[in-house]
């Protein structure tokens, strides 16, 4: 009888090994990425629609990888941080299955899935809670923008695959802390990207919307320039978690510029505990407003990309 046993891999994700010779060094020697952009400057964004021919609408979004100042340090590919890469496909509007109950408006379903290789810690093939969380947020954000009444008895599926995600922290900070999550700050920029790319894909699918929606993130970060005392907090737009020593709080909004509406907002971390906002303790409103600014920035790219596609389509 043949041996039917399998050697199964570990059930959870695994880390890429980091060898001790790097760890032995001082962390500062290692090439800790730092933010070279001004606090108010967003990462460059590449957005393209119509990338999946089989889908009714699709889009691809990538953020430029953070640039490191000095390129010495371990040249491991697994340590290099790269930008966010998302693909989104929109299927529909299509009729609901026969057994589905009547619905007077379109039924929106969103799936957000990390590719197993999207982050340094490998992701499973089954959607985990964070992915479901992202899906729910995305659905909330998109529901406010789609004019659902125009498609009764139909459904639309928005499927986002995260090809490259955002790390929750710099890998060098990861050591010793074990599996304690660093607050999943990466999710915020991922969600912002998801909203923008889904908006582009929905527009590509030709689904009626009140406006194009875009996502924006702002965060209060704390650096480590002053080692003795706590460095002051700083408000930045479009934070890359690996570039900052500590993220105090972050906010992501899904924003409709044309209507000045926010369809989804998600704030995490310590924010607004002081009665008077100060330089290193911005208020909740300020954080949100800055997130809106970031959303406006990505909105511009989004509009540009859509115009490009429109021009292509009209020229044809």
């Amino acid at each position: 009888m043949s041996d039917r046993r399998r050697v199964n891999g570990p059930s959870g994700g695994t880390h890429t090994p980091i060898f001790s010779k790097y760890l032995a060094k001082d962390v500062k020697e290692l090439n800790r990425p730092t933010r070279v952009r001004a606090p108010n400057v967003l990462r460059k964004m590449f957005l393209k629609t119509g990338v999946t021919p089989s889908a009714s609408g699709s889009a691809y979004l990538e953020m430029e990888p953070p640039r490191t100042r000095n390129a010495i340090g371990p040249g491991l590919a697994s340590l290099s941080t790269s930008g966010l890469k998302l693909t989104c496909t929109v299927h529909g509007p299509r009729p609901l299955p026969k057994n589905a109950p009547f619905s007077p408006h379109i039924i929106l379903t969103t799936h957000v899935k990390y590719a197993p290789f999207a982050t340094r810690k490998r992701r499973g093939y089954i959607r985990d809670s964070s992915e479901r969380d992202l899906g729910v947020h995305l659905e909330t954000a998109l529901r406010g923008v789609i004019i659902g009444d125009r498609w009764p008895k139909s459904g639309v599926e928005v499927i986002i695959t995260i090809l490259e995600g955002e790390e929750d922290q710099w890998w060098g900070d990861d050591r010793g802390r074990g599996s304690i999550s660093a607050g999943e700050w990466g999710m915020m920029s991922v969600l912002s990207g998801c909203i923008t790319v889904a908006s582009a894909a929905i527009a590509d699918a030709g689904i009626d919307c009140v406006d194009v929606i875009s996502g924006g993130v702002s965060a209060v970060v704390r650096g480590s320039e002053i080692s003795d005392r706590l460095s002051p907090g700083m408000l930045v737009l479009d934070p890359v978690p690996s570039e900052h020593e500590e993220i105090v709080s972050a906010c992501i909004v899904a924003y409709l510029p044309g209507r000045d509406e926010i369809t989804d907002i998600w704030v995490k971390g310590d924010i607004g505990y002081g009665s008077q906002s100060s330089e290193d303790n911005p208020s909740y409103e300020e954080l949100t407003d800055n997130a809106v600014q970031a959303a406006l920035g990505s909105h511009r790219v989004l509009v540009g990309a859509l115009k490009e596609t429109a021009a292509l389509k009209l020229a044809r």
């Binding site: 001004a38 606090p39 108010n40 400057v41 967003l42 990462r43 460059k44 964004m45 590449f46 957005l47 393209k48 990338v51 691809y60 990538e62 953020m63 430029e64 990888p65 930008g83 890469k85 090809l163 002051p232 700083m234 408000l235 737009l237 479009d238 510029p257 000045d260 008077q276 906002s277 330089e279 911005p282 208020s283 409103e285 300020e286 407003d289 800055n290 809106v292 600014q293 970031a294 406006l296 920035g297 990505s298 511009r300 790219v301 540009g304 990309a305």
Partner: protein
């Protein structure tokens, strides 16, 4: 960062053009001509030399402004500037004393945001943009106090020169680096304003800041300096310009990035791929370049399927030549059919030459015989005895039957139960449907078709007789029974089997034990039967008489041990006589015909199976068949002979076919399977040579052909035929055909029945056989 600026500068001309008209935005610098600039530069250097130490107190900008003001008069400029420097010194000392608005600490943190400018050191050109000069009175508030008079003077000057400078505007765009910097921000601001035009009006007005928030433009303005002020605390006025210095913060500039290498591979055109393909020479390929689209042509499989379907359609081609449209439709249909076939892999034909195989494989003769006779003549019992004695049925089964039969009070029926399997048959003690069984002797394989003797079941007997090569006529020898039989089904059956084409008949004179093995009785029966059979067109050499006893088994398989019997009979036993029958000639070469005797589900693997006797021709696994009258095509998945799978079968064999690609609704018992190449035709009317059993006239009849029987009517009596020559008897048309006469009749059918010439039909009316004959 510089790259961003450069890109922004590209559309600077347009932006500025748009704005030149606006009074609010007349910037003095923009009107300076190339020549003036040269003057200014030279003048500035001179003034700086002359000022010496005091040059630190005044900015280059101030020097230039004053030079402009005094129209390049260097002495006057120097005097003025010295005065300015003195005044400024005083102001600064005063400030330090009072400590009002030191701003140094805030400047520290602000350095992060606006690296190149600190508090109160903001370049003038930046400030001027951020102040919305809706009304001229607003303007002085925005800038530092010292600059106010100069600015207005310059403005006046500029206004006077405006028209003159109109032509030089384009040239004046190439400004000194400082100016470019300022203009860049201008440009940026322009872009913002263009994007959301109404925002400018609202947000630029300092007073409106107190109005309630209305839309995002206002909010945008509000958060422009998030680190400096909270919404609750009104911001102090001097901080305002500082806030505006953070202008880029408001509208983060997001440039569209170039696609990464990954994105390039994913979304760029495939042009580069084809290039690389041409770089490499392909080994083992005659043509070095690939065709652009390997799937453009039909695949090899498609070609084969197309050829096959074409060939088969040619073979079965019938009817008038098709028009173009029909051909096209046919092609499509063929294509669809081919695709459908592809889905369910069917058994492929081995393309055997079945007849050669048959000749090679032939070891034993095969014969089917039907057992006929009057009801209760002992047909089933005799066959049961035969099977029991040949060990086809084991002792235990017979014992069980005996016990069960005794329970029912019919102990003599035990042997008949070997063939009569149905509960109704057993309880009533009569055979109802054809029962089939097989046995083999040393020479021949036999198939018994046990026909019902009861007159109600003659149609079933016809079905059995249609499959038989020869017949065994069982006659009850007991007193009275023979006579009634000769009037009853003995006669009818004999005539029927003869008209069904059976030539050889073995007459088994049964139940001799009941008449004490009387030779006289046997001879009497033989004589009478022989006379009748001869009259029914059986040839004398084809008639054999065997005396026997089915119940006791004498002279069936074993020789009788009865002394009385053996004294006068030395002939062969029934089985020996069966064995003597010559192998019948099969219609092997004729087109395939098979009448379906039974349709059943042959298991999970074979959802549709049919059984029956192969009337003519041969077939093999994978052959296509045409089922008539439905006209459906099907394929042979496999063939079973004696419950053993065989690759082929020939006429005369009782086989089970497992079919594929056909729905069971298209098949029913009595349907004919034929080869698509020479299909059997469906007929609604036929002409037949009929031997009348009763009076035959134009009337309603049941037409029996094998298993199938359909209602119809005799439409026309064409004429009577001479029995011996078969010629049409001259004379007037007969109105009625008397029993025993042969006539040619035309019969119409109510339904389509597969019929062809040479087929045997039986006409019956109200349970009586009125005639039988051959289709012409």
């Amino acid at each position: 960062m510089s790259r961003h600026r450069l890109v922004k500068n590209l559309d600077l001309d347009n932006e500025l053009d748009d704005f030149e008209g606006g009074k609010d935005y007349d910037d003095t610098e923009e009107e300076i001509s190339e020549a003036d600039k040269e003057h200014l530069r030279a003048g500035t250097l001179e003034v700086k030399e002359m000022l010496g130490d005091a040059a630190n107190q005044v900015s280059e900008k101030e020097i230039q402004d004053s030079l402009w003001h005094y129209y390049y008069d260097i002495e006057k400029t120097v005097n003025y500037l010295l005065g300015v420097a003195e005044r400024r010194n005083k102001v600064e000392q005063k400030k330090k004393k009072t400590g009002c608005l030191s701003g140094s600490e805030t400047a520290l943190s602000f350095a992060k945001f606006s690296g190149d400018s600190t508090l109160f050191n903001i370049p003038v050109e930046r400030q001027s943009i951020l102040v919305a000069p809706m009304t001229p009175t607003e303007r002085p508030q925005s800038g530092p106090l010292e600059e106010k008079p100069k600015m207005s003077k310059l403005q006046v000057l500029a206004a006077s020169r405006k028209k003159k400078a109109q032509e030089q505007k384009a040239g004046s765009m190439e400004l000194i680096s400082k100016d470019v910097k300022g203009l860049t921000i201008n440009g940026k601001e322009d872009a913002v304003r263009k994007q959301i035009p109404e925002r400018q009006d609202v947000s630029m007005e300092p007073n409106t800041a107190k109005q309630p928030a209305r839309g995002f433009p206002f909010r945008k303005r509000k958060d422009s300096n998030p680190h400096e002020k909270s919404p609750k605390a009104p911001s102090p006025r001097p901080k305002k310009p500082e806030a505006q210095e953070d202008m880029p913060m408001e509208v983060p500039v997001v440039m569209k990035a170039e696609p990464s290498a990954f994105a390039n591979t994913m979304f760029s055109s495939t042009a580069c791929l084809t290039d690389t393909a041409s770089l490499f020479t392909m080994l083992y390929v005659a043509k070095p370049t690939n065709t652009a689209d390997p799937f453009s042509g039909p695949s090899p499989d498609d070609i084969v399927i197309a050829a096959q379907s074409k060939a088969s359609s040619n073979k079965g081609g019938k009817g008038p030549p098709k028009t173009n449209g029909e051909k096209k439709a046919d092609q499509i249909a063929n294509g669809i059919e081919a695709m459908k076939l592809d889905n369910t892999p069917r058994a492929t034909s081995k393309n055997l030459e079945v007849l050669k195989e048959y000749e090679k494989a032939e070891k034993k003769n095969e014969a089917n015989f039907v057992v006929i006779g009057h009801v209760d003549a002992g047909k089933s019992t005799m066959m049961g005895r035969l099977l029991y004695d040949l060990d086809v049925v084991d002792q235990r089964t017979i014992d069980r039957y005996r016990k069960d039969a005794e329970k029912m009070g019919k102990s003599s029926f035990a042997l008949a139960w070997v063939l009569d399997q149905g509960t109704e048959e057993r309880s009533r003690g009569v055979t109802i449907d054809i029962a089939m069984n097989k046995f083999a002797t040393s020479k021949t394989k036999f198939i018994i078709l046990d026909a019902p003797g009861h007159k109600d079941f003659v149609p079933n007997m016809i079905a059995g007789a249609a499959q038989a090569d020869f017949a065994v006529l069982v006659i009850d020898a007991s007193t009275g029974s023979f006579e009634s039989g000769l009037q009853g089904q003995t006669k009818e059956h004999a005539l029927l089997v003869r008209s069904m084409g059976v030539q050889r008949i073995i007459v088994a004179v049964n139940k001799l034990d009941t008449i004490n093995w009387s030779q006289d009785r046997f001879d009497e029966i033989s004589q009478q039967t022989s006379a009748f059979l001869l009259s029914a067109n059986f040839q004398k050499k084809n008639i054999t008489f065997i005396p026997c006893s089915g119940l006791q088994g004498d002279n069936i398989v074993r020789k009788s041990t009865e002394a009385v019997f053996t004294s006068w009979y030395t002939g062969p036993t029934l089985v020996e006589e069966l064995d003597n029958s010559e192998p019948v000639l099969r219609a092997l070469e004729k087109p395939l015909r098979m009448t379906i005797a039974d349709i059943f589900r042959g298991g999970v693997q074979n959802p549709l199976s049919v059984s029956g006797r192969l009337d003519a021709g041969s077939l093999q696994t994978g052959d296509a068949l045409l089922a008539q009258p439905s006209g459906e095509k099907c394929y042979i998945k496999s063939i079973d002979l004696d419950e053993q799978p065989v690759p082929w079968a020939v006429a005369g064999q009782h086989i089970t076919l497992h079919l594929a690609d056909i729905d069971p609704i298209h098949l029913k018992i009595g349907d004919v399977l034929s080869s698509p190449a020479s299909p059997i035709k469906n007929a609604e009317s036929f002409t037949a040579k009929i031997l009348a059993f009763g009076f035959l006239m134009p009337m309603k009849v049941d037409v029996h052909r094998g298993r199938v029987h359909v209602p119809g009517r005799v439409k026309r009596l064409v004429g009577t035929l001479d029995k011996t020559t078969g010629d049409l008897v001259k004379g007037k048309k007969p109105r009625v055909v008397k029993p025993g006469m042969v006539a040619r009749v035309v019969v119409d059918l109510d339904a389509q029945v597969p019929l062809e010439s040479g087929m045997r039909v039986v006409l019956r009316d109200e349970g009586e056989t009125v005639g039988s004959g051959v289709v012409e």
